[in-house]
Symmetry: none
Subunit: 354 residues, 2 copies
């Protein structure tokens, strides 16, 4: 998909915002951007991530790439224009609820870098990355479809999740692990106060586990505020799991310990490194009533089935208030998708793509 | 120190035992060795890690490099001869107490490899590594001095610790982190049963943190038995630290949370990579495509520039086919390294380590 002649705005020109600017401009978009830090916006311009600094009333799409605490304000300001607005924040439920606008589509690219700031910006940052979008029942389906298409044009794979589901999942795979890494690092360094040799003993595994603790705390403070409930729940579950481990070690129950470690090992080995590209594709056509929420319903259903949507279009029906949703998915996944859709009351049909 | 004319025995010819054989022979020692698995001993001989398979009553030093559960028996058998005996096990207090002989010096080289077994043996494995020795009040000082001198001749840095102190420190930097990694991995995979998308969200930090959970459980079962008390204490401290984190998150105490995360960050950044080196160091971060040859390309480039790499880590990029190389080099060399990397098409960034 080319962006020739299309206009976007990027608010917040750090690593993600800068990378967005570079990636969009590479595809022909005209990108205007700004940042609370004027020097940072100027640097983004200098690095070719922006065409201009400032605002663009004609932009069709605005990406809010500010820290989590500033998203709601920036999104509301952008919605005063006529375009669609999305964000890239690591927490979604509170943001989506507070912005509360059909033209706002919550988003979270699961891409990052060891590099901080616009200096680390990279047009290829989103290639192959998972990019979560969080449509709700109120989301305008045209707004969602447009954001989704642009995100995919940047090379990302879209996973649609309800906002609160996103938050509980990232608590488990990101926020809680980060707090655990910080806790492990603190324990070791307390040990080091008594005896500096402790840090000499830190071999590769420990270095890997605590690397994330070296990231800037600033980003994490907003995350811990905004995603408090899911983080507390995740911490409770981690403490419970550690308690189970403690019991196995204390009881000398080698069999139970072996089983637990083997299960963890299997899960780690199976951790997908990147998305598999399916071979044969098939198009599923789903007649849908033209009302808000249908898109969110269908896309989150497919995410729950762990089926990747290769392409998605909405086609208006010429007759009356209904349309057709065209989904392109792996042929192998089609039977269970069709079954699940039918169970929800949809009447899907399929067409092979040759 | 040359080992010409000196004789050693290595019991257990896996990765560490094989590496010991290679390193000692390189320095002129005559090395006899054996293994419960005759084929493994034969392979060590074939690979040049041994001069002969069997026992050597004239050996002045025996290295016991068996799994932890077999050390005591092997050490006692070796002490029937007249030489000094040391081991390389990851747990020390129970081993040292059970062997209970002035000519036995407990040891633990903090060196490992991604490779298992004698096939991964490497004469340079101990160069620059920390090697803990655990002399006690009963240890013969001549025995200790001799073991220490040999260990240092292999390129390792010796840190002397009381056996129980060693055990509580490795519980903190190795055993407890491993159990935490397994617990985090289990939580995420339980989440995945409900929702496979969870694993798609697992970005680089999570992958780093759980990598150690992919190691073979077998080694960890002995460790959890032999180092039970220290591990239980470490788990209790981790749970307590997580409870403190929980309190900061639940109370919305951003100041306390910031302080805790900043302390952890400082400690992680100061984590010494190996031996301390003089002079100012700087970290250079190089985003790299994940393909064979990149590491060789960058490291040989630095060798051509005559720049020593003080530390090198590779960090997976979230989900994508790329990663980041972290190079720690002398600050003075950084401008020309960055220039040379940029000329080769890399986009390096730097971070001061202070």
């Amino acid at each position: 998909m080319t962006g020739a002649g299309r206009r976007a705005v990027v608010i917040g020109t750090g690593l993600i915002g800068g990378s967005l600017g570079l990636a969009l401009r590479e595809r022909g978009w005209h990108v205007t951007g700004d940042d609370v830090d004027a020097a940072r916006a100027a640097r983004a311009l200098q690095l070719g991530a922006l065409d201009a600094v400032g605002t663009d009333p004609e932009a069709e799409m605005t990406f809010v790439a500010t820290p989590v605490g500033s998203i709601v304000g920036a999104a509301r300001a952008a919605l005063a224009g006529g375009g669609v607005v999305t964000d890239v924040g690591g927490v979604k439920a509170t943001v989506v609820a507070d912005v509360d606008d059909p033209r706002f589509v919550g988003g979270h690219p699961m891409a990052g870098s060891e590099l901080d700031g616009v200096e680390g910006a990279d047009a290829g940052l989103f290639e192959g990355a998972t990019w979560v979008l969080t449509p709700t029942l109120e989301t305008d389906s045209d707004a969602y479809t447009r954001v989704r298409a642009v995100v995919r044009s940047l090379g990302a794979e879209v996973v649609a999740l309800p906002p609160d589901r996103h938050d509980s999942l990232v608590a488990l795979v990101s926020h809680v692990p980060h707090l655990a890494a910080a806790s492990l690092m603190s324990l070791a360094s307390q040990g080091a106060e008594e005896h500096a040799a402790v840090l000499r003993l830190a071999a590769g595994g420990f270095r890997d586990m605590t690397r994330v603790a070296a990231s800037h705390p600033a980003n994490w403070l907003d995350v811990c505020t905004e995603n408090r409930e899911a983080i507390l729940d995740g911490l409770d579950r981690l403490v419970e799991a550690l308690g189970d481990m403690r019991e196995r070690v204390a009881g000398g129950d080698r069999q139970a310990l072996r089983l637990a470690l083997e299960q963890a090992r299997d899960a780690r080995i199976k951790l997908p490194s990147r998305l598999d590209r399916p071979g044969d594709l098939i198009e599923v056509r789903v007649p849908v009533p033209d009302r808000p929420g249908v898109l969110a319903d269908v896309t989150t259903l497919l995410a729950e089935l762990d089926v990747n949507i290769e392409n998605l279009e909405t086609v208006d029906s010429p007759e009356g208030p209904s349309g057709v949703l065209l989904l392109v998915i792996a042929a192998a996944a089609e039977p269970r998708v069709r079954r699940a859709l039918a169970e929800r009351g949809y009447r899907p049909a399929r067409r092979h793509l040759s």
